[in-house]
């Protein structure tokens, strides 16, 4: 149990003297240093191995091992084994290793940026030991130490406060409350997070001073417990990793099916068992898309780079896509949705509510500043205010300047500075003569000043504080610059304004002043603040000002975009329900016109219990209520409300909420019985209290500027500008890359068929091999690469932010339809194109198709050097091999030619290319690049020896063109049918 209730029975002696040095040293040995145990870091070699053997790489490794196996069999049984399998195995291994290194370094780069976030400055703490104050390293603080903190300090450990003077702490990183909390020695609550006598490790003391006894250090602190909770959580696989797994299953299925079929066929055709096994392995390996791993990695890296430019730093490459699949975002309030800075939002004077500008760049509407009342209010706010700007920030915009002082006073300071000019000058003109600071008993703050007018010898008393207390002290009110007696009507309108502003979740302050009569308080009157010797009654009420931590400017728009993208935005905050609801309404998480149960009840004037919860689309749930909810009730709430706000939630509850969302299955999916996935949940947050949820989420998004180290470590993605709107960019990029990866994979897989079929026909009908291993590799790792990657740059076909998030059970990255299109249809046309050029070359060289069937045995016989062709000419082995390799080259070139059409049709999945346009410059470059590469491989002198590729006659380049045209026309017709007939057979069978 957390020892927050440690009551101080200790003697005064202890409170003043603290621990002895000996005891402190003993405790330090017993408890260890006062710091968080860093989460176990994965050793670099493990990270590297994960890149080498994770996901897609497994497929390639299997291929490589099979290749080596096949080569071993050949080496054992044949005298002169063909090196193809060995080379292929080596190339496959090299590809995996190179890609693994590439993605490893890519991620290492991101983690380096992460490292730079870490605050390396060692913290100091002021402790009292043996009666002497000493500054020691915060790590050496031990339980039982007497610690002194003052405004601006970081709390060195969990403290039980024993004495405090106006001490306020900022707990926002722990609880999400944006308002500083006052600390005092009284135990006010059972919950350690709520009670006032505990100050927490790593929160900040904003003002005042306090003395406390250290109750917990290091991992035993509240912060430490959350950090431990976080590092104990396992984060699941990313959606893209699941998709790739599914893809591997499909590919393996197809490969094994083809392999076994042709194995049986080969045995029937009279091949020996060993030969059949070699064929089996060859076919399985031929199905491995060698270039795809690199393509996918490069595509994800490109997107990660693009996102980093837009201030989304992705720690894990695979997380790039996750935001795109996200269907629920659980967002923290403070700092993410709001600016994490109190700002004056409204004012009430002249019996009217005025709205202040709360936007970050002061682009909002302003109010009438000409009223005399406003002048008076501004003067009170400026004078009765202890906050000052820190020095040396004159060139900064006012809102960006740092201040010393209480958050609400700083808000007032900035507000007045913005609208009335230098507060410093106002204060200089009105010299302060006396001051009573704020305290919790009288709930006001007062100061007495000289007036601006040197001839006026009266003193000006200004006061601010809790509005009802201020009102009690006022007998008049200033309206349009004229003092009027405070009547009942005025009081009622004050009450209404106060309620309204309070209902907006704003903190309201009342302001009043009094020009003290000269006869009673002549110049030089000695004001005594301890024993008040002047009037504090019958003042003149000036107005109200209310403050809130306002939403960031871009957030409402971003929330709107998320909503139109079908993403549910849930607010989860440690802050109070009223504030949370106000902000939720302000940013559109609770949209206009939607009511909570409580709203309906108050509108209809009936008790809350009589309202049908189904009528309310929005709801605000308090953390204490959450505790009593069963899992079913929780699911019910998440399912039946579209707009949800969770307030006063603890870190554990945040975790429960995230888990609840992950369980949730969308409505459309409930009828299918085989679902296993729930929603994909993104969590944003900056505080330590968010980090367990960040880790548990499918994608945790931390804040780069305000975020705590713990939250950044737990997150998968970091918003460098702390702006929720950047998430929308992430969603957009994620969805785009998912679509584009589909296209990329469709493109890459298609050429698998023209690569496999030559080998199949070589086995079955004994023709000379139409396409060799080297040329296959030239396609997969050469010509196909740039066009496949260029598809990552393809613009979206329609507004991807207007459609629902993908359903992870149904919308797969690679599905049967994609395989059917790529392998069954386009791939077949491509294969025919390749075979056509193969037959053309052989026929033009004298081997007509009729003679080819069954010729393989003689063709591949080295000692047969007078093989007769269809014309009666005789060929040596080497001569006909040159023709064969020329065929390989031509087949290769034909694949390039048909892949032109393929990359163009893969640009779109539904639209016509004519609608989409050819604006993708990288793709156009890719078309030229692959052609140039093909020409280079064919025509460069020396290639005949190096890669066994031979120059082609110009006419042979055109053999596959009709097939290229056919692919284009066929697919345009297919897409036309899909567009014309939505939901029709063509779409059901071929839309991938």
């Amino acid at each position: 149990k957390y020892p927050y209730r440690v009551t101080c029975f200790l003697s005064h002696f202890y409170i003043f003297c603290g621990l002895t040095n000996a005891k402190a040293a003993e405790y330090l040995i017993r408890d260890g240093p006062n710091c968080l145990t860093p989460p176990p870091t994965t050793p670099e070699w493990v990270k590297f191995c994960r890149q080498l053997f994770g996901g897609f790489s497994i497929l390639l490794w299997t291929g490589a091992i099979l290749c080596f196996l096949a080569y071993a069999i050949q080496a054992a049984t044949e005298d002169e084994p063909a090196g193809d399998n060995l080379y292929l195995g080596i190339v496959l291994s090299v590809v995996v290793i190179v890609t693994g290194c590439f993605s490893y370094f890519q991620e290492a780069k991101s983690s380096k940026i992460m490292e730079s976030f870490k605050n390396m400055v060692p913290q100091q703490a002021l402790v009292i030991r043996e009666g002497e104050k000493m500054t020691i390293n915060a790590e050496e603080v031990v339980a039982g130490d007497l610690v002194e903190v003052k405004g601006g300090d970081r709390i060195p450990a969990d403290l039980r406060v024993v004495s405090a003077h106006g001490c306020k702490v900022d707990n926002s990183s722990l609880t999400g409350e944006s308002e500083p909390q006052s600390r005092s020695p009284d135990c006010t609550h059972d919950n350690p997070l709520e009670t006032r006598n505990v100050a927490f490790f790593s929160t900040n003391c904003v003002e005042g001073t306090a003395r406390g006894i250290v109750v917990c250090t290091g991992d035993r602190t509240v912060m430490g417990r959350i950090a431990t909770l976080t590092s104990g959580l396992e984060s699941g696989k990313t959606p893209i990793a699941k998709e790739i797994e599914h893809f591997i299953h499909l590919i393996t299925g197809v490969a094994v099916f083809l392999g076994i079929t042709f194995f049986i066929l080969a045995v029937f055709l009279g091949y020996s068992w060993l030969e059949a096994v070699i064929f089996l392995i060859g076919i399985i390996v031929a199905n491995v898309p060698e270039g795809l791993l690199a393509t996918v990695t490069v595509c994800l890296t490109l997107t990660a780079k693009r996102m980093a430019k837009k201030n989304c730093l992705v720690k894990n490459l695979e997380a790039v896509e996750t935001l795109g699949s996200t269907s629920t975002i659980c967002s923290d309030k403070t700092g993410t949705l709001t600016q994490n800075r109190m700002t004056v939002a409204h004012m009430w004077f002249d019996n009217q509510i005025h709205e202040a500008d709360t936007t970050e760049d002061q682009s909002g509407a302003s109010f009438d500043k000409t009223s005399i009342t406003w002048g008076a209010l501004a003067r009170v706010a400026a004078l009765c205010n202890r906050a000052v700007f820190k020095a040396g920030q004159d060139q900064l915009p006012i809102l960006k300047r740092d201040t010393a002082g209480d958050a609400s006073e700083s808000a007032l300071l900035k507000c007045i500075e913005l609208s009335c000019g230098s507060v410093k000058q106002i204060r200089e003109k009105n010299k302060k003569v006396a001051e009573i600071p704020f305290n919790s008993t009288n709930k006001y703050q007062l100061s007495v000043h000289e007036t601006e007018d040197p001839n006026d010898n009266r003193y000006l008393l200004v006061m601010k504080g809790a509005p009802e207390r201020i009102l009690d002290r006022c007998s008049t009110i200033i309206i349009q610059g004229k003092e009027q007696p405070m009547d009942e009507e005025m009081k009622e309108s004050f009450q209404n304004a106060y309620m309204e502003l309070g209902g907006l979740g704003e903190r309201v302050l009342g302001f009043c002043h009094l020009l003290m009569p000269e006869d009673q308080y002549p110049k030089g009157f000695a004001f005594d603040c301890d024993d008040v010797n002047f009037t504090t009654e019958n003042l003149c009420f000036v107005g109200l000002m209310s403050m809130i931590d306002p939403p960031r400017a871009a957030v409402p728009d971003a929330v709107g975009k998320c909503r139109s993208a079908g993403i549910k935005v849930i607010m989860v905050t440690g802050d109070h329900p009223i504030t949370a609801k106000a902000i939720a309404k302000g940013v559109g998480i609770i949209s206009e016109g939607n009511e909570t149960v409580e709203d309906i009840a108050s509108r209809l004037n009936i008790p809350v219990s009589q309202v049908n919860p189904r009528d309310a689309k929005a709801c605000v749930i308090h953390g204490t209520d959450l505790k009593d909810l069963s899992q079913d009730q929780m699911d019910d709430i998440l399912r039946n409300h579209t707009e949800i706000v969770f307030a006063r939630t603890s870190p554990q509850q945040k975790l429960i909420i995230v888990e609840g969302c992950q369980r949730l299955v969308s409505h459309t999916d409930t009828h299918t019985l085989t679902h296993t996935h729930g929603a994909i949940v993104a969590v944003t947050g900056d505080g330590v209290n968010d980090s367990p949820a960040l880790k548990k989420a499918d994608i945790g998004v931390a804040m780069g500027i305000s975020g705590s180290d713990v939250s950044k470590q737990a997150a998968d993605m970091i918003l460098l500008d702390d702006n929720f709107a950047s998430i929308v960019t992430g969603v957009e990029e994620g969805r785009l890359i998912f679509d584009n990866l589909k296209k990329s994979i469709a493109y890459t897989l298609t050429s698998n068929i023209p690569e496999i079929t030559p080998f199949l026909l070589f086995i079955i009908v004994n023709i000379p091999l139409p396409l060799g291993t080297i040329t296959i590799l030239c396609i997969d790792l050469g010509t196909d690469m740039v066009p496949a990657i260029s598809l990552a740059y393809e613009a979206a076909e329609s507004d991807i932010m207007k459609r629902q998030p993908r359903n992870p059970t149904r919308d797969k990255l690679v599905n049967e339809r994609l395989i059917s299109i790529a392998y069954g249809q386009i791939g077949m046309i491509q294969a025919l194109g390749g075979f056509f050029s193969y037959f053309v070359i052989l026929a033009e060289n004298g081997f007509l198709p009729s003679i080819l069937v069954g010729i393989r045995l003689n063709w591949d016989d080295r000692s047969c050097n007078d093989l007769e062709d269809s014309y009666g000419q005789q060929w040596t082995y080497e001569q006909r091999k040159i023709v064969e390799f020329t065929c390989h080259t031509a087949f290769f070139v034909s694949i390039v030619v048909v892949q032109w059409a393929d990359v163009i049709i893969c640009k779109t999945r539904r639209n016509s290319v004519f609608q989409q346009g050819m604006k993708n410059k990288i793709l156009i470059f890719g078309l030229f690049e692959e052609t140039a590469l093909a020409a280079f491989l064919s025509y460069t002198p020396g290639m005949d020896v190096a890669l066994r590729m031979f120059p082609l006659k110009p006419s042979w380049w055109f053999c596959a063109v009709p097939y290229s045209v056919l692919i284009f026309v066929y697919d345009e017709i297919r897409k036309l049918l899909i567009r014309r007939n939505p939901g029709g057979w063509v779409e059901r069978e071929t839309y991938y």
């Binding site: 014309y871 060929w875 080497e878």
Partner: protein, 282 residues
């Protein structure tokens, strides 16, 4: 429990009695998709046949479009032996019998009677050109006689063992047929010359060439293809090893010497030359 569910979904996937689905599709769905693929592939086959037909129309019946890979004609020997190795023992008939049989078969079309019946006696030492006059093909084209007797002792007529039994074997060398090839200019006929590879130069002993000097007479060229020149008799050269060293591998290389045939590439060991191994055991 979970495993049971897994199993039933697998079973359901293969045959789901509830929806009557086989492998995730109903019968009509299977029918449609199979019909589609059938039609699609028939169409593709049609398209392929069409392009092939068009391509075949562009070909000449008598001469292939390209002959650039046959610049240097290949050479070959008979008998071929087991991957260009002829190894036998004169004392053991069964070790050389198949060579003699191969030669018998190979030479039977060259019997003088057959040659006289089918082919013309041509004027030697000059090309036997039978040009077409414009579009009118001068077909079928006639061929010149190559009589078996030209090979003299290697003809197998007197010595039916082709010298194998004496340890003086005959090897027949031929030059690959290439349509239109003219193997010599200025009336210089190409001829075959054989020698041993360096280290074996002492072992090869004396050689005899038939016909004299091992020439391929020019009258057998040019070749017009098997369609136009049905009875073409490929000229042969026989070599006889007169006193080859016994019980040792002898690597022999024969080349064609001609003033118009370019030397073949390094990589092709059979372009314009032929290498083989001969070993006579005792």
């Amino acid at each position: 429990m979970a495993k049971d569910a897994e199993k039933s979904t697998w079973k359901d996937f293969i045959w789901n009695p509830r929806t009557r689905e086989f492998c995730g599709r109903t019968a009509s769905s299977w029918g449609l998709i199979l019909l589609f693929y059938l039609v699609f592939y028939i169409f593709l086959a049609g398209m392929f046949c069409l392009t092939m037909y068009v391509m075949l129309q562009t070909l000449d019946d008598h001469k292939p479009t390209w002959q650039d890979r046959l610049g240097t004609p290949g050479m070959m020997i008979r008998p071929r032996g087991e991957s260009m190795e002829i190894i036998y023992n004169p004392q053991m008939t069964e070790s050389w019998d198949m060579y003699a049989k191969t030669l018998d078969n190979f030479l039977s079309p060259y019997n003088n009677s057959l040659q006289a019946e089918k082919n013309d006696e041509c004027k030697p030492d000059q090309y036997f050109v039978q040009a077409d006059s414009g579009d009118v093909k001068n077909n079928p084209k006639r061929s010149c006689q190559f009589n078996r007797t030209l090979l003299e002792v290697c003809s197998g007529l007197e010595d039916r063992t082709y010298g194998y039994v004496d340890g003086k074997p005959c090897i027949i060398i031929k030059l690959n047929r290439v349509i239109g090839m003219l193997p010599g200019t200025d009336g210089q006929a190409p001829f075959v010359t054989c020698g041993a590879k360096k280290e074996d130069s002492e072992k090869i002993g004396e050689l005899a060439y038939y016909p004299k000097n091992g020439t391929f007479n020019l009258m057998y060229y040019p070749y017009y293809g098997k369609k136009a020149q049905v009875n073409y008799s490929q000229p042969l050269v026989a070599i006889k090893f007169l006193n080859i060293t016994l019980n040792e591998d002898v690597n022999i290389e024969c080349r064609i010497i001609s003033n118009s045939i370019p030397p073949g590439s390094e990589r092709d060991k059979f372009a314009g030359k032929v290498s083989f191994k001969l070993r006579i055991n005792t």
